[in-house]
Point group: C2
Chain length 202, copies 2
């Protein structure tokens, strides 16, 4: 087929098409929107992308997304630091915060055990979790991994590790009100609240 677009438009369409859930048609529409929009408006998207990559780091305590050394949850003195809710990714925190039923802290593993993809315990923030669990104020660790095979494997691994610590700590898991095989991120806030309230001691 003959060349349809000038190079810079073609390039923008291809970059948009790399985003999750964006097909060729959507990418085309988005590129033409950028083309037609005021320069300031278009640049505000470019700048927002740059700022996220420049400003966002991992919280040095829980590995959530943060704009400072500590994320907005770890630096909130009103949160209960006796509770640590362990999640795979920062977006899982968003889902849990939206349900509004939790006032403890978090720990982001930055993934889950997936030996077939080369993700072992060393690739995750597991050592840092264990260090936190050993702190005297910690009473309970809530395992909020996704209800998938890999999530279950990761939870089982963590239960063994934490149970082996020289410390009394309650380990709980979210109630399996979650629909199996789905993502925690995609679960409705009400179901998440239910799962959180019905968490069961291991």
């Amino acid at each position: 087929m003959a060349k349809l677009y000038p190079d810079s438009i073609q390039n923008l369409i291809e970059r948009f098409a790399e985003l999750p859930g964006i097909g060729a048609r959507s990418a085309e529409r988005m590129a033409f929107y950028i083309l037609a929009s005021a320069r300031d408006e278009a640049m505000s998207l470019a700048i927002a992308i740059r700022d996220v990559k420049k400003n966002i780091r991992a919280c040095k305590r829980c590995f959530n997304v943060a704009e400072h050394e500590l994320c907005h949850i770890c630096s909130d003195y009103k949160r209960d630091n006796g509770l640590i809710c362990v999640v795979e990714l920062p977006r899982d925190i968003i889902a849990l915060e939206k349900c509004g039923g939790y006032n403890g802290e978090y720990h982001v593993l930055q993934g889950r055990l997936e030996p077939s993809a080369g993700v072992g315990p060393e690739q995750l923030r597991i050592q840092e979790l264990i260090t936190r669990v050993a702190e005297p104020e910690v009473r309970e660790v809530i395992l909020a991994l996704n209800p998938t095979t890999e999530g279950d494997i990761t939870a089982t691994y963590l239960i063994e590790l934490i149970s082996g610590l020289d410390k009394e700590v309650i380990i709980t898991r979210l109630a399996r009100g979650l629909a199996s095989g789905t993502d925690l991120e995609a679960t409705a806030p009400s179901s998440l609240e239910y799962a959180l309230k019905g968490r069961q001691r291991v």
Copy 2:
């Protein structure tokens, strides 16, 4: 609700949500994708946006998108410069080029007559079209406006104007094989080819 995201993530989500067809959930997913992706990859999107705003201008002849003075169609000597196909927007050219049935040139009005929105003939590239039509080599003007009320009004206006010129020129319109009320841009290439072949002399 408590603050869910650091400011720069919130800002990026809002910017993504301004794009056409992107809801709150998609914008969130896209922002987290940017967050998780390698810095180079994320920046390549920011740079692609900047480059489009920097490099793309209107072709000085037909007002299509262009990276140089003339667009890639106007600067292609193999195109038949005796045919001018008049469209509303550059994306309409993409749709027509995809159908593969046309080898003439284009003229982009950059909109359509819409008095209620303050778009009169002076806001469109109509004077420039008339100047081109007056060129001796031009034999036919194909009106490929969208099959909508505004498109029809614009076509009627152009027919009057061109008919009043002191020059013999054939004026045609795309066959109304197009489904009324839809966008030309969203029409399947095969229907577009049919509409192009069945264009009728006014």
